[in-house]
């Protein structure tokens, strides 16, 4: 199975809009939303026939039994995550990373580990299409592991899969990059966007994932679009095209219509990019 991942570094550059276009154009049979912190892909893919959900368990977290606690304070001293509050000693669940150091040092055996549900993993199907997504429970932290679970659900379900990524360069991005064949960077022509793009490119390079780049909302700042094009040439990164800003895209997204169905310059640009991306994938 070949997997294409969309990333951007900066948020709001248009990853999900482009991903939706590519899913429709390629008639992909498998796709996933790896932005478990703020998932949106499910909003634009229409309705599915079947749904299965399962809980996602975080590492078990510590819980102090107040009846057995002797107030010695050892747990408080060893915890590196500031997850233990004093008077009386208790665990702050959203800070606990489940390392179990406290359970090892507690002389009274007052600390137990409890499994905690940190989110929900969802699998939606429609004919031979499979869509994997997840939601993180408020106040949970381990997004990288959840991304890995989301990816597992579509593994080998089809010849080709499209993954919508998250902004940033941290654990969810690293988890989404692991094992993909190509990453499409959706850049934005702003100084912030360029700074972020360069960082996420370094990230993908560390993990040795091939990269190609497009610029969305290119006409907002043509000069910076050119700068990105030059940067890509200098860095030997395939530059696969630009998408003009489409003010009416907002109305289209809100009415549940895809940019492709709507037509217009942005839609045409995505179609052109789609063919180039597929060529890049075939050439790998």
């Amino acid at each position: 199975m070949k997997q294409l991942l969309l990333l951007s570094g900066k948020g709001g550059t248009g990853k999900t809009t482009v991903a939706t276009g590519l899913i429709q154009l390629s008639q992909a049979k498998a796709y996933a939303d790896c932005d478990v912190d703020a998932p949106n892909l499910h909003l634009v893919l229409g309705t599915f026939d079947n749904h299965t959900t399962k809980p996602y368990y975080d590492l078990p977290k510590a819980v102090i039994d107040p009846n057995r606690c002797t107030e010695c304070g050892l747990c408080y001293q060893v915890c590196r995550f500031d997850a233990i509050a004093e008077n009386p000693y208790r665990v702050i669940p959203h800070l606990c990373e489940g390392c179990t150091f406290c359970t090892h040092v507690c002389p009274a055996g007052a600390i137990a580990l409890e499994e905690t549900v940190a989110g929900t993993i969802e699998l939606h199907t429609r004919g031979d299409e499979t869509f994997s997504t997840a939601t993180l429970k408020m106040g949970s932290g381990t997004t990288g592991l959840l991304v890995t679970e989301v990816k597992k659900q579509i593994k080998d379900k089809a010849e080709f899969a499209i993954l919508d990524g998250s902004p940033g360069i941290g654990c969810p991005v690293i988890a989404s990059l692991t094992g993909v064949d190509l990453v499409l960077m959706v850049a934005e022509p702003s100084l912030s966007g360029i700074s972020d793009l360069k960082r996420v490119i370094q990230n993908a390079r560390q993990l040795q994932v091939p990269i190609c780049v497009i610029v969305n909302k290119s006409d907002v700042n043509e000069e910076l679009t050119e700068r990105i094009r030059h940067y890509c040439a200098k860095e030997a990164l395939p530059f696969l095209g630009t998408i003009p800003y489409d003010r009416e895209a907002v109305a289209a997204i809100n009415s549940g219509q895809s940019l492709i169905e709507r037509g217009g310059p942005a839609s045409e640009a995505i179609q052109e990019i789609y063919h180039k991306v597929m060529k890049e994938l075939e050439a790998l």
């Binding site: 948020g11 060893v78 408020m138 106040g139």
Partner: protein
């Protein structure tokens, strides 16, 4: 007064709002907690920068002492250690630096050393202090950098620019905030993610208000959400190609346009009033 600016969705205008609020305030501190992709400094262009490294601990093994008992391997819930005959492997990127393996090792074969995971730059723009955290590429968590960054919060006025999402970095970012500004786009994506961060502020027991950004004619799902939840709407910024261009060039609107200077001065007053009211409740 410590004000966090967040959004769930990326690219809604958190940094735009944060840097312009900080710039019109002309005092206090601006804290860029988007340590994976910090951009506020591009706008505020601070000078007199002092740089410090943020370190995390990591275990290192002395193989002359290690007898391969695997106590550390079995105890590590993150699976950051593995033993093959003659070698104990330690995976730094997976290690959470909890210290358990070093504590448990019966032969004292493990010790901890410091590892640099990011940098903090603190500078000035007139009377405003500008604080930026930057995570090294390849690291998995910026939480320790945010913790260190926020140690110098200014109680009089701090504008805290949050990373996108609703995960661990955002939790850390808003932990010390007195009030949260939720910046929302007029799309169903924007409304969906507004709901997420709104829920997060409720879980964390933080008062919050909404700033509608890039507003167009027609239905605004984020505005509908705010009204339904009786969330205070702090202000509304229409989509403006002038703003898009100035912002793409990392220019401060409050310095380029009298109209926007007035808007952000009023927004600052509104936010401070709201936060003061919330504190009295």
């Amino acid at each position: 007064m410590k004000i966090a600016v967040l959004s769930g969705k990326g690219g809604t205008g958190k940094t735009l709002v944060s840097v312009n609020l900080a710039a019109v305030a002309e005092k206090g501190g601006y804290f860029d907690c988007d340590v994976e992709e910090p951009n506020g400094h591009l706008f505020l262009k601070p000078s007199d920068i002092e740089e410090e490294e943020v370190t995390s601990l990591k275990p290192v093994v002395d193989m002359d002492k290690c007898d391969g008992c695997r106590v550390c391997v079995d105890a590590c819930v993150y699976k950051a250690l593995a033993y093959i005959p003659g070698e104990l492997m330690i995976f730094d990127e997976i290690c959470h630096a909890c210290g358990l393996c070093t504590h448990l090792c019966p032969r004292q074969a493990l010790t901890e050393t410091k590892r640099v995971i990011g940098t903090i730059r603190r500078g000035r723009r007139g009377s405003l202090s500008v604080h930026t955290g930057t995570m090294h590429i390849g690291e998995s968590t910026g939480v320790p950098i945010i913790k260190e960054l926020l140690k110098k919060l200014d109680d009089d006025l701090s504008i805290i620019d949050s990373p996108p999402g609703s995960g661990c970095l955002v939790l850390e970012t808003i932990a010390h905030a007195d009030y949260c500004i939720l910046v929302a786009e007029p799309t169903i994506f924007g409304a969906q993610n507004l709901a997420l961060v709104h829920e997060l502020t409720q879980v964390m027991n933080k008062p919050a208000g909404v700033l509608l950004n890039k507003v167009e004619d027609g239905i605004n799902p984020s505005e509908l959400y705010a009204k339904e939840k009786t969330l205070k709407i702090l202000g509304s910024l229409p989509y403006d190609s002038y703003v898009a261009l100035e912002n793409s060039n990392a220019e401060l609107l409050v310095e380029r346009s009298e109209k926007y200077r007035t808007f952000f001065l009023e927004l600052l007053k509104e936010v401070v009033d709201e936060a003061t009211l919330a504190a009295q409740r």
